[in-house]
């Protein structure tokens, strides 16, 4: 728990009396204006939290759809990166009824910009949290980053994996703020035809290790899957299935509405 008394916007977003829908979009894809239109469409369609990905040259934890979007974004608009994504977020925050934004970035762009600068700019842009997939909670760099982030009311969300030991889950649960991100299955991001049968047990183990809301991502891509996960988790994160539609705000909005109603129906 953060020592400061700034209430977590993310925790609030996950505690509306029903599971929250978290929509992942790639910053700068298909271009800056296109990603802004996508943000607007997804907000309007009822996403409770938006995760905004930072295009990166070596997206180690991402599958083909997100890799492709990052590549396109980096090729356009003078190489879209962390600075441009924070700037985009600042503009998105002025959109009416914009849900809390979480930045998802690999660590190196943050290190290159410097943690104090990243945290300062993110706070100005109204960012609610950060997800950094290649920064484990017990890495000394995580403590350095969190010192900067916490004091500015920015949550750092750590990931729990199917392979995590009870000790690791305890660590993830204790160090996370806002929510805990449960990686549904082994592998990188991307749509999966089926989610693993052990997911329910995994979510149960994560719950036992934290008082924070618990959200499930990686592979969740259809309204049916969203509905299933909504039965066990406080949040459902959908990424590749949205990024695939990100160049068409109308189709994207329709799809997010179908996911949002799948959540509501629970």
């Amino acid at each position: 728990m953060a020592p400061t008394e700034i209430p977590s916007r993310l925790e609030v977003a996950f505690r509306k009396g029903r599971p929250a829908l978290v929509a992942y979009l790639m910053g700068g894809y298909p271009d800056r204006a296109g990603s802004l239109a996508a943000l607007r469409a997804v907000a309007l369609a009822g996403a409770d939290v938006i995760e905004l990905g930072v295009p990166y040259a070596d997206p180690l934890a991402d599958g083909p759809v997100i890799q492709h979007a990052a590549k396109v974004a980096r090729a356009r608009d003078g190489s879209f990166g962390l600075a441009e994504t924070l700037d985009l977020a600042a503009e998105a925050a002025t959109i009416e009824d914009m849900p809390p934004l979480v930045v998802m970035t690999y660590l190196n762009p943050m290190m290159r910009m410097g943690f104090p600068v990243v945290a300062g700019r993110a706070a100005e842009a109204g960012i609610a949290g950060f997800i950094v997939p290649d920064l484990p909670p017990d890495n000394p760099m995580a403590a350095q980053w969190m010192r900067e982030a916490r004091s500015r009311g920015i949550d750092t969300v750590f990931l729990a994996a199917p392979t995590s030991t009870p000790e690791r889950l305890a660590l993830v649960g204790e160090r996370s703020a806002g929510f805990v991100y449960v990686v549904s299955s082994l592998g990188v991001t991307g749509e999966r035809a089926e989610l693993p049968a052990e997911l329910t047990a995994l979510v149960g183990r994560v719950r036992a290790s934290t008082s924070l809301p618990v959200a499930v991502g990686f592979g969740v891509s259809t309204p049916q899957q969203v509905s299933n996960v909504a039965g066990i988790a406080d949040g459902i994160i959908v990424g590749s299935a949205l990024v695939k539609r990100q160049d068409d705000p109308v189709a994207l909005g329709d799809f997010v509405r179908s996911l949002a109603s799948a959540v509501q129906r629970r």
Partner: protein
């Protein structure tokens, strides 16, 4: 026999720390999914190191299968040609499969077997680590898949064919520039998916902890043998020891025993040669230590070629084993501490050194190793005509015939 190269009682050099940091470099920067596997690996590795049976088995394979110890050969005609007193070549090119990579592949595949994994994966640039791992997998009856960039598949067709002959799958990687860094990323992505039944055999002193330490351990046989051979030959004084640096495994394998066993005063100058490609003033090189800045890639913190926004850049070198935008974390720490000097060697200089060794000694070196050899004339200018220098010839040049022919060597 002189005592200058005898082990000191206590060396101050002790890296990495418990979290895998060499000074500020190294560490574990990977998705949570593989963290437990890395912890499991670290434990299995510790147990194996303390198990005489493991050491015996590896020692037996290195001797009877690989052909170790490799000779320390006094290259008199080469020494004369470059203007040095004495040049010793550590002949890693004479290893089974043609390079130092087999030392590490056998060690890691033995570890994999101990851990009950029946499947291994590897990345490869020049194809040497791929061939070495495919070989170890064939020997031990392990399933093996090797990730290789499409550009490297083109440059190193012979090694691709060898891996397939050995029963391994070669997985083409088309992302990025289709070279070594892309192959590492693809292998790491695959590992995240198959971590439960698959052992990732990393080919250099890179990657998250404990890999850099494991690879150093398995390659240290190079430097240990060299120290012993110098003693047997009665060589009491060495001025410099040179190795090429891609990820840095043959270099750390050579340097580490010198760092650990010798006090600063009597330690030879240690020189790492990285790839300057078309020149370090261009953007076509692989000189992470000379031109990079610290950053995180492939799970560790080290000097890295990166843009202003923190994206790793594509590296370039004529040699597929040196065109990596990063470098092993221990080398970054050694650079900062001034314990090793790193210099960059261009494609053209490497080709020249390749031709020189071939013509003076009848030894055809790998194009990677030729980068180390290219340091000889520079050191002659600096150390004078009586200096004694050891060069690690990390591999043989059979795989590079097409490249040197394309570059116009031997066609006159």
């Amino acid at each position: 026999m002189s005592d200058v190269l005898l082990p000191s009682v206590e060396s101050a050099y002790s890296s990495p720390d418990a979290q895998g940091f060499y000074g500020p470099y190294g560490g574990t920067f990977v998705p949570e999914t593989v963290i437990p596997a890395l912890a499991e690996l670290a434990k299995a590795y510790e147990t194996a190191l303390n198990d005489p049976e493991f050491r015996n088995e590896l020692g037996y394979l290195l001797r009877d299968y690989v052909g170790r110890p490799t000779p320390l050969y006094k290259a008199e005609r080469l020494a004369e040609a470059v203007g040095l007193g004495t040049v010793y070549l550590k002949r890693e090119d004479l290893n089974h499969t043609g390079a130092h990579k087999i030392n590490n592949s056998l060690g890691q595949c033995l570890l994999a077997k101990r851990m009950g994994k029946h499947r291994v994966i590897a990345e490869t640039g020049a194809g040497q680590h791929g061939v070495a791992t495919a070989t170890a997998a064939a020997l031990m009856g392990l399933e093996c898949a090797v990730f290789m960039g499409v550009e490297d598949i083109r440059r190193q067709a012979l090694n691709v064919y060898k891996m397939r002959l050995l029963g391994s799958e070669v997985v083409p990687v088309a992302e990025g520039g289709g070279t070594l860094a892309d192959a590492v990323t693809a292998a790491l992505r695959h590992w995240v998916e198959r971590v439960e039944d698959t052992f990732y055999v990393i080919g250099s002193t890179v990657g998250p902890h404990p890999y850099p330490a494991i690879v150093r351990e398995f390659q240290s046989v190079i430097g240990e043998e060299t120290l012993a051979q110098l003693q047997v030959k009665g060589v009491g004084h060495v001025d410099a020891v040179i190795a090429c640096v891609g990820g840095g495994s043959n270099a750390i394998g050579m340097f580490y025993p010198f760092l650990r066993n010798l006090p600063d005063e009597s330690r030879p100058l240690l020189v790492g040669a990285e790839a300057a490609g078309l020149g370090i003033e261009t953007d076509k090189h692989g000189a992470a230590l000379t031109k990079g800045t610290p950053g995180v890639m492939h799970g560790f913190y080290s000097y890295l070629l990166q843009d202003d926004a923190g994206n790793p850049l594509e590296a370039y070198s004529i040699s597929a084993g040196l065109d990596y935008p990063g470098v092993g974390p221990e080398h970054s720490s050694l650079k900062d501490a001034g314990l090793v000097r790193y210099e960059a060697v261009t494609d053209a200089e490497a080709l020249e050194a390749f031709a020189l060794l071939t013509r003076t000694e009848g030894i055809i070196p790998a194009i990677e190793s030729s980068h180390a050899l290219a340091m000889l004339p520079r050191l002659a200018a600096e150390l004078g005509p009586d200096a004694v220098v050891v060069v690690n010839v990390s591999g043989r040049g059979d795989k590079d015939m097409d490249i040197v022919r394309e570059a116009g060597l031997g066609t006159d």
